[in-house]
Each structure stands twice: as C-alpha cells, then as structure tokens.
Symmetry: C2
DNA sequence: TGTTTTTCATACCGCTCGATATAGTGATTC
DNA sequence: GAATCACTATATCGAGCGGTATGAAAAACA
C-alpha cells in the first residue's frame, strides 16, 4: 500500500490499510458486482467521497484489494513451488488452499474464482484482469512440473500443463464447495483422496 | 413446460419453450444477478409484461430455466451412474461435462456453478436453491460409489463421499476453466490426466 | 354481432446503483 | 495568526434496476 505522506493539509482520519482490508472482505463475500458502494463504505467506516479520494473508484479499489489478497492469502503458492517433488508442490498448493478455507474469520471461497465466474457487462474488465493474473501464476506451476518431469519426478506420459490444469481444477472446485457450505473436514478428506491418487510414490 | 392451452382470449404470439431456452442462455452467460430484464426480454423476443404474465417474475423464470438446464444438459449425470464400474461412472461424468463445454452454440461454464458462487443479498435465495439441487444429485453419486466399494470395485481405504466431492471438484474446476477461456483440447487433456490417476485398474 | 378474456405495447413506478458538486471543517505551514 | 490544503458530510446526479398500470388489439364465447 502506498502510504504516501503528504505533509500539507489535514491528515486522513482513517487507516487506508484497514479500510482496504475491510473492502477486501466485502468483495470476497459478494463478488465485484454484488458489492455495493453502500456496503463497502459502511464496512470500511468511511464516506463515499473519502473512498473516491483515496482509492479512485470501485474498480481501482477492487484491484488494490486483489493485490492485498494475493500478497496475504496467496503467498503460499510461491513457496509451494519450492517443494522438492511435484507431489509435494501439489500437496502444498492444496493444503494451503485448505488452510485458507479453514480460517474462521475470513470469508469462504476464493476471491479469484468468485470474480472470474459470471458477471454482467460492466464487470468483464474485472474478470479479464483476474483471468490474466491467474494465467501468470499458472505458468509458474507448469514450469515447475516440467522441471519435475525432467528430473524423473513425474511419469513420462504426464503433460505438465494438463497436470497443472488438474491441480487448479481441484483448487477451484475446493473453493466452490467451500463457498457453498461444505465443511473443512469434508474438504480435507477430498484433498486426501486427491493426493492418494497422485502418480508415482 | 406447462403448455396449458387456455382457449379463451388472445393467443400468445411467442413460443414459451423457445423463450425459456433463450432466457436460459442469458442466465447461463450472465448469472442470475448479471442478467437484466432488458437483456432477458430482448433475447426472448418478448416484452416485460409478457414475461411476467407467462413466467411470474425473474426468480420464477430462473427456476424454470434451471429445470430446463437440468433436464437437457445434465441428463447424462443420471445415465452415468449406470456405468458398470466406479471408474466408468467418473469417466462418464467428466466426459459428459467435457462434451457440454465443447458445444459451440451453448455458453461456457456450468449454470449451477455460476449461480452458486457469489451473489449480492437479493440472490441468496437463488444460491440456496442451486446448492440444494446439487446436494440431491451428489447423494446419488455417493450411493453409487458406496455400492462400488461394496462390490470390491474401489479400494477399501476410499471414502465414497470424499471421492464424490473429488469428482465434483474436478467438474466444478472444469466449468470454471471453461468459463474463463481454457480451450476444450486442454480441458480434455486435464480430464485424461485425472482419469489416469483413478485408483485401481 | 357484442361481450368476455387474454395478450401485447407503451410508458411509468419507486428504488438502488456508481459517482460528484458543494460546502464546511480542521490540521499544517508560512 | 492567516493562508493553504485535504478531508468530511450532505445532498444529489443520471442511469439502470425489477416490476406494473393502462389501454389497445385479437381471439373465443354467447
């Protein structure tokens, strides 16, 4: 967050980071379109003009919330790639997602999935943004799985991209189910089942 | 569809089934909230009063569209349960979903997933409806996998419900990815990868 | 033919949406 | 202490939302 300090003039009376965190929670539960400015400003504890002065507009606010989401809630994705085996990578990815869903104070589901599924005409730019961000993180996983294959860590007949899409599909399905009421224990057994099928070892 | 023929009065100038099919396509691409009455009536080729006279309101229209969707696009789910093996059931479920996504004239993604992911306050009843319908179809798959386990068709350590959630997660992930631009060939390889991991045989 | 019944077309309802204009308030700098 | 600047509060903007009132048009009854 750019905590730019403009020394002149009246200082801001609210904490921009806290307000952004509150906005993130609203977007997370409602989606981009489902989150109204009224609900956003009430959750953030600020008025509409303050929101526009500080964050630009609704779309800019969403993108900043998305930044926060990625750095705070999706950080495990990068570290997961450091696991020694492909199976370890998959396990860290899925268990990381599981752990996120287990948090009792965060909304259920995945902001990325929520924001990329359906939308009216106005939110298609948002959807495109989210899809583009997902593509870049997907590429990192594909590369990691390709390396694993080269290291003999994956069977020869496995396609790294297909395997990545498979893991992402599980991740997305997990998010959908979590958002629709499936409890964490059931989700954990689902992940266990998936990992038990992992090829080789 | 109830093609109730009320002989009295001016006859309807549009085909209710065609109109409902058009409405389904709009809901399918936009989601419940993203589909406005303007877009719906334009796609259906009727006026607002005609829509309300024939279908009730937006929510009732959605539920009828959901009925149509289930009977037309999700029929393969019931027949999939008749496959001789659990693996065959899973394969039919996933390939059926794949085939749906391959249709060039239908919208991408799954209406059930789209409608159950995120929503504003007004659409939570819709979300609950969709979640309830999914629960009933899930139960059928759980029962089928339990039978498979009793028949020695699945390893003893497999939990039927967890396996069902796993298959549904793949299905939902497939829908999410299809809705965000992943091509059918890639989705096909993803399904192949998943089926290659299926336990036993 | 005249009445009844239902549908269609237009225009409109109150409401909420995202976004701002206008003032007034308050802290910092010169 | 005065000038300056950014923030707050209120009130409102035009547009679009879901939903409807009002008649005219068209077919089936009598």
């Amino acid at each position: 967050m750019d905590t730019a300090v403009a020394t002149r003039g009246r200082p801001r009376e609210f904490d921009a980071d806290e307000a952004l965190a509150a906005a993130l929670r609203v977007f997370w539960t409602r989606g981009y379109e489902g989150a109204s400015l009224t609900e956003l400003t009430e959750a953030m504890g600020i008025t509409r003009p303050s929101l526009y002065a500080c964050f630009g507009n609704k779309e800019a606010l969403f993108k900043k919330a998305l930044d926060l989401y990625e750095t705070e809630k999706l950080a495990y994705m990068e570290t997961a790639l450091e696991a020694p085996t492909a199976r370890g990578v998959a396990e860290r990815l899925l268990r990381g997602a599981l752990q996120n869903q287990a948090s009792t104070c965060d909304p259920k589901g995945c902001l990325g999935v929520i924001s990329s599924v359906a939308c009216g005409p106005e939110a298609e730019a948002i959807k495109a943004e989210v899809v583009a961000r997902r593509a870049s993180s997907k590429r990192a996983v594909v590369d990691r799985f390709a390396r694993a294959k080269a290291e003999g860590d994956l069977p020869e007949h496995i396609d790294p991209e297909a395997l990545t899409n498979y893991v992402f599909a599980l991740f997305q399905g997990l998010s959908v189910q979590s958002g629709t009421g499936t409890c964490c224990e059931d989700l954990g057994r689902m992940v266990d089942t998936a990992l038990a099928m992992w090829p080789g070892r």
